[in-house]
Amino acid sequence: MPDFVQLLCRLVDGKVDFVLVGGLAAATHGCTLVTQDIDLCVNLALPNLERLQRALADLHPVHRLTPRKIPFHHEATVLAELKNIYLQTDWGQLDCLGDVKGLGDYRRVLTQSQTFDLNGRPCRILTLQALITAKQAMNRPRDIETIRQLTVILELKKSAKTRKVIHPKTKS
């Protein structure tokens, strides 16, 4: 069964460089849509992918889109070739993307991110505006409702009245 919090904590504790994107990022910003996986934009540099592999090692990670569910356990030469990594772990599905459509690669995504408190850990997440930009670039039918909700949230956050009810722990 998915355990999004524990999985993210594991990655932060493992010093994996990532930014939370996709449906869970939308949910973290306040969107009410259901998501079943964690989408991350990750730094594809080899040391970071090695940290990712170490962090997940005991969670039986496999490449879930491969017919034989190949284990996510590779030598450096193989890791260095990986771009987008779609994993199934004991704690849920994890999609690690090298870039985000509409935004760019990890370095660009990082500049459009902010941190939030994840059980005492700083966790990076796309800003609300960047997430809307990314969803608009994707423009899939399922993104339309997300964009609508995120736009409402953006407007709510802009209003002085609503600023009082929004939790203050998200920092730029």
Binding site: V5, T32, D117, V152, L156, H167
Partner: protein, 74 residues
């Protein structure tokens, strides 16, 4: 789509759960109707961590339903 129906899944009968899974997975955004702003505002009162925990509970509920459906078709 709001999470309210999902949160009460355990009280629903199997055929209703089947219908709800279809609702969750097949309806287009246009079919989902207007946004429930009050639900979003309520969600914004939570911390980011609490929102992730809430999303995780919803994902777990959906996974339970998918497994139940898979077993019922087996």
């Amino acid at each position: 789509m709001d999470l309210t129906p999902l949160l009460s899944l355990k009280t629903r009968r199997p055929q209703e759960k089947t219908k709800l899974v279809k609702t969750l997975t097949e309806l287009t955004p246009d079919q989902q109707g207007d946004i429930d702003v009050s639900l979003i505002v309520e969600n914004l009162r939570l911390s980011p961590l609490q929102r992730i925990q809430s999303a995780c509970r919803a994902a777990n509920d959906l996974e339970i339903l998918r497994l139940a459906l898979a077993n019922s078709h087996a």
